[in-house]
Symmetry: C2
Subunit: 313 residues, 2 copies
Amino acid sequence: MTLYKHVTIIGFGLIGSSVARALRENGLCETIVACDQDAACLKKVEELHLADRTEADPAKAVLGADLVMLATPVGTFGPLAKTIGPHLDYGATVTDVGSVKGSVVRALRPHMPPHVHVIPGHPVAGTEQSGPEAGFASLFFGRWCILTPPEDVDETALTTLKKMWEAFGSTVEIMTPEHHDLVLAITSHIPHLIAYNIVGTAHDLEGVTDSEVIKFSAGGFRDFTRIAASDPTMWRDVFLHNKEAVLEMLGRFTEDLTALQRAIRWGDGDKLFKLFSHTRAIRKQIIEAGQDDAAPDFGREHDIPKNNMSPKS
Amino acid sequence: MTLYKHVTIIGFGLIGSSVARALRENGLCETIVACDQDAACLKKVEELHLADRTEADPAKAVLGADLVMLATPVGTFGPLAKTIGPHLDYGATVTDVGSVKGSVVRALRPHMPPHVHVIPGHPVAGTEQSGPEAGFASLFFGRWCILTPPEDVDETALTTLKKMWEAFGSTVEIMTPEHHDLVLAITSHIPHLIAYNIVGTAHDLEGVTDSEVIKFSAGGFRDFTRIAASDPTMWRDVFLHNKEAVLEMLGRFTEDLTALQRAIRWGDGDKLFKLFSHTRAIRKQIIEAGQDDAAPDFGREHDIPKNNMSPKS
């Protein structure tokens, strides 16, 4: 099933390269053009044969494309839109994979010609790794992809884009950019922020060494270090571009944490027990919804290896 | 290598039952007596043949034991010590697997007769699951076990206990109870507290439904739900019994988070980028130290299953 003739992906990191692989694997387009400002990235794309053509200049890369996907950090979208705007084909769809949506709409609007269909998107999928070599075709399988089309969206353009994500194994959900930014603030942005924060706090302690933090990280800390290893540029831009929703959710998080702190200080075991019992149910529902593995400890390897090495100190 | 003749484990949940399995698998003792106040648990122990004998009464369970291990929530240790104190054998070692150590020392001290060797311990290992059926022998392999012996500890008793943990595949580290409580506050207790807290915050939002939180949890949130599914009683007791260190570390965490909040509010991208770049290095060191898997996304399954089901909604 060919959905597009020529897809141009601008920004060929984890997500961009995974989309290219998924397009190829499902035979959804004829030509893929990879565009990235990083020459080393494009060289890697050529070595791995991830695209039909590479092109450093976004203005040239979008020529003749019927789907243009922005997969760079969201802070680049304004200048990028200005660059590609005049070169977009009549009837082309312009989408993105950014983790925020309100600011993306605002960044694109002034530069998009009336003859293109702008349909912002966000596949809720990823790993903590970065770069074109980190991508894989099944990244979007079993995950949700959120699209935030304008009210007067072209239905055919929307349907085609939806079909693409569904072919990748995703379920598409339509919502407003504002609601997207609120939902993702709590399910993604605040989790990343507090993960980055606790790793920073642990590193800065004068009474506990980094070596101790690392050794005893299996007590829970290591779970946070995975998402705190995510791409720094991408995440800087997320926080700068979803400021209102992040600050709102952070306020609630801190308020709740202060209440817990008070319960600990005053020895209110009932309050602690009540919360700790509640939270189990949410994990159960996430597993039932197929959004995480049921295996304990994330299915981490617990077998004793044959060489029976003791841990490295 | 037999280290003990008769080991009594009081509290036969995830950790207690894993110790029993590891003792058996390595042939480290002759007899294991399982003690638990929950009759259903003891029934399960019998069904799974995890011990040589089960005993509901701790006073009877410890009779003749040369190693007594407390593996119940730490809040039970005071009354438990009082119950078993008069029945402990001459020269027996009394240890535990509690996640706090200062309060354990204080709870045991008044009730332990001078003819026993009290050596508190804490294997830094676990999963989010609970109960005797959740345990497994390799749980401690490749992990650290912290022992906090008194200064005048009997060296033979300490060496024997060390050998047991080493036979399980752990590396033993000796420290003071106070230092243990500080280190674990940051590597384990605060991570659990903020995980519980964010799951609670997400659940309480009026603008975002639970169903949305669950669907879009792959954006990062789901990573927190694992440890927020840990045993509520155990964790209530941890926070009540490591109050000082937890409040101290929580204060630092909140202070750092407030600085991040300010950076977001004022659009200080450099500050965010600097922290987000730093934290990657800690993840790398944890992986190099063998304390987490190098596989992206905790090695979660990303293959497309053969029946190609789309996600459940």
